[in-house]
Amino acid sequence: MTTTATELRFHREVYSGEAIDQAVKTWSNFAEFELSESDQHWIVKLTPKHEPAAARIIGEFGNYVLGLTVDRGGVQ
């Protein structure tokens, strides 16, 4: 059962686009993703697949992207 979509806007000067791509792949079992971009942001629309865990999926996904960005040494 899917839930409503949540939009996360990751600032390009703070988050790595590659980190987002990798995170989307890893989390694809837990949510549906739509990716787009603006001048300033990577935009991720995510729809968690499990209603009871929706908030957790969104939060952990955001943390995962931050973790991967830091692993890469930040935004180059």
């Binding site: 703070v14 952990e60 960005t69 830091v70 930040g74």
Partner: protein, 168 residues
Amino acid sequence: MSEQSPISDIPEALVSAALTERSVSITLDAELYPLQAVYGASYVFLDRCYVFLDRPEPGRLRATLSAKQAVEEPEALRQLVGEFANELLSCAWRHQVTQDNRVAIETVTVQAIAGAMGEPSLDDLADFDFTDEALDDPLGIAQSWEEKHGRKTPAEAEGERGEEEASA
């Protein structure tokens, strides 16, 4: 989003902090706290909080920390501000100490470590593509003078003279 309450007595150099029921947002002066320090501090909280970073305007960074567990006391979130400030300062300090000692760190490491693969075999050398560019060479040290300045090598100049004479 619910109404934000400002927090008084925030540590110096944090621009502002505000809290909602479950989260606290901290706005920082990006000059005082470089992004690397913010990354480092944010990373420390990943197990306890959902951490989101943003750049609301040039020269500012904003970190929003949302508690993972249900928050019983608003005081717990206020405490997070102090902890985060402490961690920021720690990361900024560490960053500076590392910069100060960078040459020593690299010297010690290079002197101490060598590789584990052993010498290449004749087969490895036979397979190696020596035409590949082996080095990054930002100062052009490996370039000949002619390559750097667009001039011909003596051999190239000799060859051209030979062609001119042949066609004359």
